[in-house]
Symmetry: C2
Subunit: 527 residues, 2 copies
């Protein structure tokens, strides 16, 4: 029997709150005690990654309280309910099934006679077959020439996740000889976005993937028209250059405007859709279906570890609970995501959507106002770039910002240079190790301007190399972390009612049905 | 006589604090009262921009208190001291002269016999002449062929600002026939960053701009070696493909490794260096010196408005003070920057450095610990993309995040499409107008999950089009805003001691001179 309760009604939360400031991080991380923590506070993740939380302000007492909180909040049971097909997205009365795109976790989930796992696998197979025909030159442009570029047209979850995943694997694929098509992305309704992409690609050899679940996303349909005009102006037939990714019930599903259509459904939210056809079509076209399958495998492995009820074997749950401790006990309002990998340059932007859109809510799943803070602000840039930018505030600002590092022992492109006795990759890794310790322990100095207080908590996910498998595991880790946090906060993490009002008002502006300040702003902007 | 005092010791701050929550934003912005606010609470900016703060939680009483605070904190006098050449960066005992790169604001500033304005103008002239010779084919690669691409190698301020400015004007320049060279950027010590750029450019026709003030930045020198190796492997002479931007005293200044060297000095901080040769060389090469000159002119116009002591004629000062009110009276810990312009996609990343590195400090300019919060976390993405991502939290999250919108009436590329009765540009503008009102006024609903509390403050900077002049004005506006906030908080906004400790520890890791947890992390990362 699952009980959906607010965080502040749980006995274990009271126990956790009593442990506030029980860990002195600079002290805990100093000397051999610190080395012992690094060895001890590490949990294996899927695909050979590991989650090291030695530099978080936790100790065995805090971990025990977090374990009790996990049990009392029934995190494992709630996850099982989700993957076994209960209506977890209660606001929209929908199942939440993105994990089924990458594997079978529990029961078969059958909706109106359709086995959903089989449905998702079937669509992936369609995408794989299509991609292979494109690569083989069996599907070509009207002149019979091979496509060289794939352009995704989508916004939000149809853009951020797939774009971040493409950038994460582009160099790896080039190095491994599996970069089949270059990929580009058009998202913003700003016409300069599409114009910029179209002016820098070979349109006649480009295949466009139109992604909209509903088939009614204003930005995406507008950009589709923009692209179709450009194709027609070049004497090309748009229907020979476009495929659709949408739901079976959308207006795009059976249209002759597209070479093919690939389907998703209402049980996969946009920000959770990178492993569905939303990511699958563009990534299979860019890298080949085998690479996409390996990415799915990494994600599925991470889902399997998320089923563990033992906190110390479940890094997503542990990460989630430490975040709740930092947000609700220590009172930190934001979190920085800092991958030491240029390939992950847009991964923080994806996590920003995933986390802030899922858990940026002020009522619980029953619509009752909450008395405690929920999702934090998420931001980040790759290291070492961030070190030369906003790290000043992270080290010496007046607020404490918890940090999530990611690091890999090997680069992707296989090119490196030895300067002053070390490679670039070694310098990159040395920097992330150094930062963790600088944040945790700080440094006293006679000059107060050069003093670092320390006590700034971080964790690091470490892997051998960013590959399709490790990327999939990384993606699913954060999806599951966000889900567990939503359970703790008693939220529905799978709707986004907060995006609706702006849409309604924008339509009113375009229909010139405004008054007061809205009309005044519209006039200033010459609409 | 200038007095450097802490914010909480100023009488006007006490008066301001007493006005906490005196404005009910949903009420103030409703009906014709709201329209009147939009008309009234607008201040002209340089280059035809305007700063509209109707949707901030201010009224005439708050503005009066802000005006008193500006006077008591001597903001105008402190700015004058800065541009007249006093040692404002007291920690490093340096002048702060980035405004002189774009115009004369006050006295001639002469240091060791050198008129600094003349020096900066001279270096710009050198850069302009060099760029024109490259464009004319007088300076070519060894084969006598024209360069087609310019690649900036730099990190932090030598990367973020120039990169954001290039992206901001790339489409404009293409449309206006002034895109002379494509520009690319290498910044991260991650070897995959340089590898990725080198694999996607025509190296034989590329000119590299090495930017390091000290000539010792580890990332930049490492990437220089990486690039030199690549050039040599192609049988090319690196010294025919590289110029340096550095200080006259740096090891790079007189080296025969470069086609030319352009100089900056210690009085221009990295994050304030886009209008110096750090931005000037790459932007003059990419767009032509005339475009760069127009950019400088816009920045200078903004500097001139920043000299105004009347708050209602000084948008940078007003913006700064409203930010202080939000941070120190209302207690908001972060600020989102949301440009409704795809061309400004990396402008938030630049502002993130500018703001967080300048004012993320916990001691005042005398090294005394502060009892009040200083610089907030800055993050942002272009609209409308952000609407489909993290806006959920901004609308319905438990924390309030002040918002800085930017919008333009016209696009840059001159391509647009009419769908459902409106252009893309109109849709873009309609969305920003709608968002301001949705955030300010919210909406009640019988379903609490669809209720928007409103009361979420924003301002908007509005312009006709993003051009070199408006971009320059926008850049300088924020530089001056950050400076005024630093004055309010009694900080030295021009040093960055917080970035040092990490560098020291990273060197120790690379020298294998570590123990304890630092050695343990180094081992995990196989350094």
């Amino acid at each position: 029997m699952i009980n959906w309760k607010n965080l502040d009604t749980l006995a274990a939360f009271g126990k956790l709150a009593a442990l506030k400031n029980s860990v002195n991080l600079p002290e805990a991380m100093s000397g051999e005690n610190g080395a012992a923590r690094v060895a001890k506070y590490s949990v294996p993740m899927a695909a050979g990654l590991s989650y090291n939380f030695a530099a978080k302000t936790v100790d065995d007492d805090v971990l025990e309280a977090l374990g009790e909180l996990a049990a009392e909040a029934q995190l494992t049971e709630k996850f099982a309910a989700l993957y076994n097909g209960e209506v977890i997205n209660t606001g929209e009365k929908r199942l939440v099934l993105h994990q089924l795109t990458r594997g079978q976790l529990g029961d078969n989930v059958v909706v109106e006679g359709t086995d959903k796992r089989a449905f998702y696998v079937g669509e992936q197979k369609k995408a794989a077959d299509f991609a292979e025909k494109v690569h083989a030159g069996e599907i070509t442009n009207a002149a019979g020439e091979k496509f060289t570029t794939v352009v995704q047209i989508g916004i939000g979850g149809s853009d951020l996740g797939p774009r971040a995943m493409y950038l994460a694997l582009e160099n790896w694929a080039r190095q491994n000889g599996t970069l089949k098509l270059d990929a580009r992305f058009i998202s913003n309704v700003d016409p300069d976005d599409a114009a910029s992409v179209l002016k820098t690609i070979d349109v006649a050899h480009s295949l466009f993937v139109l992604v909209s679940k509903s088939g009614t996303t204003l930005e995406t349909l507008t950009n589709e028209s923009f692209v179709k005009d450009a194709l027609k102006n070049l004497g090309l037939d748009p229907s020979k250059h476009m495929v659709a990714v949408t739901s079976e019930t959308s207006p795009l599903a059976k249209s002759s405007d597209y070479l093919a259509a690939f389907f998703m459904d209402d049980f996969i939210g946009g920000r959770y859709s990178s492993t569905s056809c939303v990511g699958g079509v563009v990534l299979s076209l860019a890298f080949g279906p085998e690479v996409f399958a390996r990415f799915l495998d990494g994600a599925h492995q991470a889902d399997m570890t998320a089923k563990e009820s033992n906190l110390m074997k479940n890094p997503a749950m542990l990460d989630a609970l430490i975040g709740v401790y930092e947000r609700n006990v220590l009172g930190y309002p934001s979190t920085a995501v800092l991958p030491y990998s240029q390939a992950l340059s847009r991964f923080p932007a994806h996590l920003q959507q995933l986390d802030m859109e899922s858990n940026g809510k002020h009522v619980n799943r029953f619509g009752e106002p909450l008395d405690y803070p929920t999702g934090p602000v998420i931001f980040g840039e790759p290291g070492t770039n961030g070190q030369h930018s906003f790290y000043q505030l992270l080290h010496q600002g007046t607020d404490i910002v918890p940090l999530q590092f990611v690091g890999f022992r090997q680069n992707q492109a296989g090119m490196d240079v030895d300067i002053q006795g070390s490679t670039s990759q070694q310098k990159l890794c040395a920097n992330v190790a150094a930062q963790i310790m600088a944040f945790a322990c700080g440094k006293q100095d006679a000059n107060p301007n050069k003093t670092f207080e320390g006590g700034r908590p971080s964790s690091i996910i470490i892997g051998e190399q960013l590959t399709p498998e490790t990327l999939g595991a990384l993606l699913a880790h954060f999806e599951n972390k966000v889900m567990f946090q939503g359970f703790c906060w008693n939220l529905n993490s799978f709707d986004q009612e907060g995006v609706q009002l702006g849409k309604v008002l924008a339509k009113r502006v375009l229909a010139h049905e405004t008054d007061g300040a809205l009309k005044a702003y519209s006039d200033l902007l010459a609409i």
